[in-house]
């Protein structure tokens, strides 16, 4: 059911782990399925993301999107990181099955939460960043055909 890229990132997830004294840490939970993701960012003084690590309690898609998201934000500026949406992550993974689209939101929201934490700690405001919800509620529904 998963693409080869998803399976690759699931089997060999990049950047699993924690960053001690991280610049920002964000934890989000997915109300739809109960999964949880924590993202650690190490941001240098120029606002460039030097390192990024994650821990995920979730399905194969959650693990793979976490892994891909960390790869995508590494080396990026904060503003560039905000453009790493769930769509971008999914594209980088050659897509996800429809029921798994919501999983990719975890990664996007976790990045945002970590950035928010960073901003709060440093007393700055990041343009275009909203306070993350602790739970993600949206996500595409299948067309109105479910039982």
């Amino acid at each position: 059911m998963y693409s080869e890229k998803v399976m690759d990132h699931f089997q060999h997830p990049r950047n699993v782990g924690e960053i001690e004294n991280a610049s920002g840490v964000g934890t989000v939970g997915n109300a739809k399925c109960g999964d949880i993701m924590r993202m650690y960012l190490d941001i240098d003084d120029n606002g460039v993301i030097q390192d990024c690590k994650f821990k995920t309690f979730g399905c194969g898609a959650a693990v793979a999107t976490s892994s891909m998201a960390t790869e995508l934000v590494k080396g990026k500026t904060i503003q560039q990181a905000l453009e790493v949406t769930n769509k971008a992550v999914m594209e980088a993974l050659d897509g996800l099955p429809p029921v798994k689209v919501h999983c990719s939101l975890l990664a996007e929201e976790a990045i945002h939460a970590a950035l928010w934490d960073y901003a709060e700690k440093h007393g700055i405001k990041i343009e275009g960043l909203k306070k993350p919800k602790s739970d993600i509620h949206e996500g595409e529904e299948e067309e109105g055909e479910d039982y």
Binding site: P13, G34, F57, C59, G60, V63
Partner: protein, 387 residues
């Protein structure tokens, strides 16, 4: 290629080669429509009668009380909807449990939209229906009690005889979804006071797309699928002759080997359970320790999520299943694991392994070793696990 260790026999089973063998002539040789006059149709008709007899014998039922359907889901839908319709003048209340298969639960929800009231009985922490709650739930307008024989996820076997007795003392019809139990544990419809019973071929090494509903003589339900006069005018549609023959053969096979097969399965199941509980920390067994299906083991591993576990097991050639939300289209965590009181995140990390007669102790050793490794790895990735 890696050896396949198939431990998802509660989901579906391999069709036994002798079952396929028995079916084959009915595709290309005795392909006649059993409702026809000529002798070619007679062959099909005879084959159907024989299958019906085999199944009736397996249940202590009469031949004409067995009606073939397309599977467990159809049987469940038929039993509930047609009973509701036929006994509407008597009442509109049905009692079932919180841990039924969706084929029962979603049908009940449909009935609720159509003027019926449903009581969903709770179960205890082992998944056993609370008999005192059943007694309290009975009302004058109760027309049907439907309690599954054994649960598909956690394997717990219900006190069917006791429930049947209570139903009959109160003059209430009793249906049981025996999709998981038929062919695995002995069932006698008279002894257990069963009025209707659902079963599905592919759960006992028979083909997919065939099942039956046992309907006790005298129960007044009519058709669910209307049309031709097949199945004594109660279930329309050209008979799936190869499927029926296959189901008959599978039943014959399951009954003949039941004692020996399930003795062996119970031994291996308990070996698996003991090793897992002893060797993997933060683990619990779901379902009743002993009153459970011979081939069912169901664990919850804290801090990890089921789908990831399944995919990693699959890479080792091990097929299992999970009550995790993430593995199902619905994204709801298993209602069964919720009903026995598991918190959401523990239900999430559950794994069901269901054996068959081909599984060996060596297979299970391989499984346990891999489980240990994979669970370690997933826990190290989990934000919930702080070691």
């Amino acid at each position: 290629m890696k050896k396949l260790i198939y431990l998802d026999n509660a989901a579906t089973t391999k069709t036994a080669p002798e079952v396929v063998e028995a079916m084959l002539p009915y595709f290309t040789e005795h392909y006649g429509n059993p409702s026809t006059v000529y002798s070619l149709g007679g062959e099909s008709k005879k084959a159907i009668t024989e299958a019906r007899e085999t199944i009736a014998n397996a249940l202590g039922a009469q031949t004409e009380e067995i009606y073939f359907t397309a599977g467990g889901s159809e049987s469940d839908n038929w039993a509930l909807k047609a009973t509701a319709e036929a006994y509407k003048s008597k009442g509109n209340h049905i009692i079932t449990t919180k841990i039924e298969h969706h084929a029962i639960l979603h049908t009940c929800e449909w009935l609720e939209k159509h003027g019926y009231e449903i009581t969903y009985l709770p179960v205890d922490e082992n998944g056993v229906v609370k008999i005192d709650e059943l007694k309290k739930a009975i009302r004058p307008e109760t027309i049907l009690i439907s309690v599954m024989f054994a649960n598909n996820e956690i394997g717990t076997i219900q006190p069917i005889k006791e429930i049947g007795e209570i139903a009959h003392e109160h003059g209430i019809l009793f249906h049981t979804d025996a999709v998981q139990a038929f062919g695995q544990v002995p069932i006698n419809v008279d002894e257990y006071h069963i009025d209707m019973l659902s079963a599905s071929g592919h759960k006992l090494n028979g083909p997919k797309g065939i099942g039956f509903l046992y309907i006790r003589k005298g129960v007044k339900i009519r058709s669910f699928i209307h049309g031709g006069a097949q199945e004594r005018k109660r279930r329309a549609g050209t008979e799936n002759v190869p499927g029926i023959v296959g189901l008959g053969k599978a039943t014959e096979r399951a009954m003949a080997t039941m004692k020996e097969r399930t003795d062996k399965e119970i031994e291996l199941r308990d070996y698996l359970i003991d090793r897992v509980l002893k060797e993997i920390p933060y683990t619990r067994l779901n379902g009743h320790r002993t009153t459970r299906l011979p081939n069912n083991a169901n664990f919850s591993f804290q801090f990890i999520e089921g789908e990831s576990l399944l995919i990693m097991l699959d890479m080792e050639g091990i097929c299992g299943s999970s009550g995790s939300a993430c593995t199902s289209g619905s994204l709801d965590p298993s209602h069964v694991l919720m009903a026995i009181g598991l918190p959401h995140e523990i239900a999430h990390g559950s794994l069901r392994l269901t054996l068959n007669e081909e599984i060996t102790k060596e297979d299970l050793d391989f499984v346990v070793e891999n489980l240990k490794r994979i669970i370690d790895r997933l826990r190290s990735m989990s934000p919930l696990y702080e070691d």
